[in-house]
Symmetry: C2
Subunit: 76 residues, 2 copies
């Protein structure tokens, strides 16, 4: 089981990526979905994980930036 976090900010690109991607993931890998616009206190945590833009999927510490919706800097 992998630790998976999907960071997004509610942007159209984020929503598209979420719909395309999260439905594919095996339910054995529960995905934590974090809306950084609603939880700005988690922006620093995302940045520390290596997230530079959203949407991003972090899989066992590996950051996958998926398309480009917004820079993390713009959410801080």
């Amino acid at each position: 089981m992998s630790k998976v976090t999907f960071y997004h900010a509610g942007c159209p690109v984020c929503v598209g990526a979420e719909q395309a991607l999260l439905g594919l993931i095996d339910p054995r890998h529960p995905v934590e979905v974090v809306h950084l616009g609603e939880k700005p206190d988690q922006v620093a945590q995302a940045a520390a994980a290596g997230v530079k833009s959203v949407p991003a999927l972090v899989v066992d510490g590996e950051v996958l930036h998926v398309n480009f919706g917004a820079s993390l800097a713009d959410l801080q």
Copy 2:
């Protein structure tokens, strides 16, 4: 069941993304993996699908560019 294609070019970024991502995907969604370096005849098809760089995951026609390994233009 979604139609999923993972385009890559064997680059380190591609390999990292493949390892992080494909292991998550529910086996009910079979993933076609296309190495564009080895199958240059499929570059035009990837471009037509909207792929601009690799690695990229195409899910039911929606293109998810995952990080940045190489521009598709450099593979043509």
